[in-house]
């Protein structure tokens, strides 16, 4: 028996197609749940799991758009399910289709293995390397970083990424070349290239070069279009290309 919250009248059923399966393959299964006035896609998935399919696998944590763990493909687009209202993606009477994030291996149902995504952050040298203390010690002096400087503004523009993988799942280049680093890892690299306290500029620029790096980006900007934080990884990648172009031309890199 479905429960209807107080003050809400029972409404039509919402049809939901959910991808069920694992790494070996799977298929869509159809469910019907009560359509509500205010309902996020994460609410829908939770409702199905609690009321109909206890073994439905999916991932979430904060439910308020802070943790970045609930991203899935909703009606063909990667989104945060917790911040996506059903009425924003499906017209009344229209079905909802929920799949696991694209471009990542599926563990089960709606849960993907994020390891390749974060491995690429490491490959793009996404860790801060203090210039003044290469051994990881705390530098003796505070670095002075003017907030209005051009480099700091470039870094600030990309710093709010929470690693949800929406851009990665939306990227055509990742789909074509599984080695491609992807938007999030290079956005991270660009914030560090612009961090005046960082000492690993040359290695990082080398790491994001070439056919698996920024030079394969076509600037189609799906990452920028879909980023739930309104970041602009496409411009970050363009910045890497520009920096690498001049550094190569003037021989500032090997």
């Amino acid at each position: 028996m479905e429960t209807v919250p107080k003050g809400e009248k029972a409404q039509d059923a919402l049809k939901v197609r959910v991808w069920r399966g694992d790494a070996a393959g799977g298929e869509f299964r159809e469910y019907a749940i009560p359509a509500r006035e205010n309902q996020t896609v994460l609410d829908v998935v939770t409702q199905i799991q609690r009321e109909q399919e206890p073994d439905l696998a999916y991932r979430f944590a904060c439910r308020v758009g802070m943790c970045g763990s609930c991203a899935m493909e909703v009606n063909g687009r990667a989104r945060w399910t917790c911040r996506t209202h059903v009425k924003r993606v499906a017209a009344p009477g229209e079905a909802l289709e929920i799949r696991p994030l694209a471009n990542l291996p599926v563990i089960r149902d709606l849960a993907t293995d994020m390891a390749p995504f974060f491995d690429k952050w490491a490959r793009a040298k996404g860790t801060f390397q203090p210039k003044d203390a290469p051994d990881g010690a705390v530098p003796a002096e505070f670095a002075t970083v003017p907030p209005e400087s051009k480099a700091r503004r470039e870094a600030d523009a990309g710093i709010e990424c929470i690693g949800c993988g929406v851009c990665y799942a939306s990227c055509d280049i990742v789909a074509w070349n599984p080695d491609y680093l992807g938007p999030a890892a290079m956005n991270r690299a660009w914030t560090l290239v612009n961090d005046v306290r960082d000492g690993a500029r040359a290695e990082r620029l080398e790491a994001v070069s070439g056919d698996a790096g920024c030079h394969s980006c076509h600037s189609t900007q799906s990452c920028t279009e879909r980023c739930p934080k309104n970041l602009d990884p496409s411009s970050a990648i363009a910045g890497l290309k520009r920096t690498l172009f001049w550094d190569s031309l003037w021989g500032r890199l090997r």
Binding site: I173, W176, N177, E206, A207, S209, G210, D211, A212, G213, H215, S216, K241, L244, F245, S248, L249, L253, R254
Partner: protein, 113 residues
């Protein structure tokens, strides 16, 4: 191919594109200016034979075009056909040089004969 080589190819393609942008303009404007009032093969040859600067210009043009085109085709083949690896890279280098050689041969024909 190493990341470094990939970066150099990318830079080479951009630099050749910049040169080709200017070179194509020079090429087309020269044709339009030269052809006004009609032009015969003999008149063309009279101007190009021994014109070392024009010869150098078209050699650079042919090299840039061959290189630029081969790098671009390599990218397309990698993405659309999955043609990756050393063998394919060498084949594209060959195709680029061959394309350039056709252009250089044509320029030499106008310059030397």
């Amino acid at each position: 191919m190493s990341a470094q080589a990939g970066r150099h190819l990318w830079v080479a393609q951009r630099v050749t594109a910049m040169f080709l942008g200017v070179a194509v303009l020079v090429h087309l404007v020269t044709i339009m200016v030269a052809v006004r009032g009609g032009l015969t093969a003999a008149e063309i040859l009279a101007r190009t034979q021994g014109a070392t600067l024009w010869f150098a210009f078209y050699v650079a043009f042919a090299l840039a075009a061959g290189l630029h085109g081969a790098i671009g085709l390599r990218n397309i083949a990698m993405e659309w056909l999955g043609w990756r690896g050393r063998g394919f890279d060498l084949a594209w280098l060959g195709i680029g040089l061959l394309t350039a050689a056709f252009g250089v041969r044509a320029a030499w024909g106008l310059y030397a004969n």
